[in-house]
Symmetry: C2
Subunit: 347 residues, 2 copies
């Protein structure tokens, strides 16, 4: 296998220069005359030489690698949305000539697993990391930030602890909620319910709060029995809707789900009771999941541009790695209502 690992000494010998010069050529130093440069380049090509990455890093170069940490219990490989996020991150890193080391954190309570995460940073395998799916307050993430590692977070807001090495990207969920409610109002709905997402996540809290506020601003009464607990899964949507249907209260005419998966589950529960969407209840989701358009009925939803968001998050993280500036980097993306066929006009 490894007959003759080619190193800079061999290149230097073939080119008739010192290893210092070979290194200068590789690193594009300006003070190498083009004649020398050419000799070295020719030797490099001839020997098919690539500098050993470990040696370069040990001598002080960056790894050009970003860690992507994805919190997700269970069978993640089945979740379309999660996968899409992973690939978005990889693609945008690759555009900037960075590598991505990906991790799935199945359980944030598992000390051994969390230690693996820490390890990757302290080992200097990566220049920075991006966390997706963490709770709003995750001690090990805070610890890494406190240690000075450059970390990009999604769905987190710690304005009181803004530091240059904490890079932040969020969606403006308030805006999404307002659009959804405005649209429903336009259709004549006044009795509107909500299935909550995971409220240990920022977006879960924000959607909940956004709903309350938007309803209040519009002067609409909130019926507490129409506010259902849940998380961000199809199953949670299904169960929440079942609970709602089993209650004795009258049903809302419209309902907003914390995301599209939740909406799918809710619609499934309705259908099991012989109720149809939008005839018997109007439903709005969040995210614009790949399946939403193909869903029956096509789901009206608040679209959120994950691809663009992660691209920009990655760009900011890399910028901070390369510039180490004092800038606080933070973005908030707006979202847009996509009207399809899961809501009806009330007569």
């Amino acid at each position: 296998m490894k007959k003759t690992e080619i190193n800079s000494t061999e290149v230097a010998r073939l080119a008739g220069v010192s290893r210092s010069t070979v290194s200068r050529v590789i690193n594009n130093y300006s003070n190498v005359p083009s004649k020398t440069r050419d000799k070295v380049l020719t030797a490099i090509k001839e020997l098919n030489y690539f500098p050993n990455a470990s040696a370069q890093m040990l001598a002080g170069k960056k790894s050009r690698t970003i860690g992507l940490f994805m919190v997700s219990s269970g069978e993640i490989a089945v979740d379309v949305l999660t996968n899409m996020m992973i690939v978005s991150v990889i693609e945008s890193a690759s555009d900037l000539d960075y590598y991505v080391l990906t991790f799935i954190i199945r359980n944030t309570e598992d000390e051994a697993m969390i230690n693996n995460v820490r390890e990757v940073f302290y080992q200097r395998r990566i220049d920075g990391g991006i966390f997706i799916g963490t709770k709003h307050d995750e001690p090990f993430v805070e610890e890494l930030i406190a240690q000075g590692f450059i970390i990009g977070v999604f769905d987190q807001e710690h304005t009181e602890k803004a530091v240059p090495n904490r890079v932040v990207a969020n969606f403006n969920n308030d805006s999404g909620m307002k659009q959804a409610i405005a649209y429903l109002l336009g259709l004549g709905h006044r009795q509107i319910g909500l299935i909550n997402g995971d409220r240990s996540r920022l977006s879960g809290i924000k959607k909940y709060e956004g709903f309350y506020e938007a309803m209040k601003q519009q002067g609409l009464a909130i019926n507490p029995s129409w506010i259902l607990d849940g998380d961000f899964t199809e199953q949670a949507g299904y169960e929440a809707m079942k609970r709602l249907l089993q209650g004795t209260e009258p049903l809302p005419t419209a309902l907003i789900a914390a995301n599209d998966s939740v909406a799918f589950g809710a619609i499934r529960a309705l259908r099991e009771q012989g109720l149809n969407v939008p005839e018997h209840m109007s439903i709005i989701g969040f995210d614009d999941h790949v399946l939403s358009e193909k869903h029956n009925p096509p789901l009206t939803t608040v679209r959120v541009d994950f691809k663009q968001l992660f691209k920009e998050l990655m760009q900011m993280v890399i910028k901070q790695i390369e510039e180490q500036s004092d800038t606080i980097r933070e973005i908030k993306y707006d979202c847009t209502l996509v009207i399809r066929e899961s809501c009806r006009r009330l007569d």
Copy 2:
């Protein structure tokens, strides 16, 4: 940021031993008395020390990193299946305590891009690689294998060039074709068509050949105008079906698509002409795509277990990395017909 990088010297000092001993503890040498070991372990914990990965690698350790190279032009982040494969690979590596560095190769003709792939190997950033989506004969992959790098390939068969550092995983597409045709026969179909996949890929060839052979074995005539060219995309299925519908020949009563996406496209084209599945034509796909079950009608398809296949491929690659044995590692997974509602019994 980097105030005091902790290194083995500091651990050694705190523990009152030499760096050699620290290293022995970290690497689990047997000849360290437990008393010494404990002192060192305590110091490591107290200093929150993690050995620098580059230094370890430079001194001869493996990187414990596998490269995952995914050939896919265009907007890969949108393709459910591709994403699922990526995550499967990451998860199975992680189970074995390996890291995965993922690359998207958008264009195998792009020399710069291919050079990035080469680079990662020669730089020793990875201990081995897995390629998905390459053509059956891809010069740069062959070159890397010839160089002795340990490489896992999917959907490739080079029995004449079997070497221990080429690890191979395939599906038995012949078997799938036979099952599909047997089922259609059972329903009374004798006029069966095929939309081909990408025939620069092994599975494209194998499905085509498997179809021919199975038809022949069953004594069924093959109508050349029912054999449509295509690739593995929805669009190709749509276009192939359109061509078929525009022809003057009578239509087949059933058609097998190279994969489920192709089947979706074909069904869309049929529907545009007011033709329904399975009333007007029976359709069978391949893969059991996440959407197939939810499709209208639910798609009958040949299921293939990507998750399991990639898990085993990863295990074999890692085994070869760690054992460097002369074993030829190769697996072939069977596939299974999943009957849903896209085929009907002929009267």
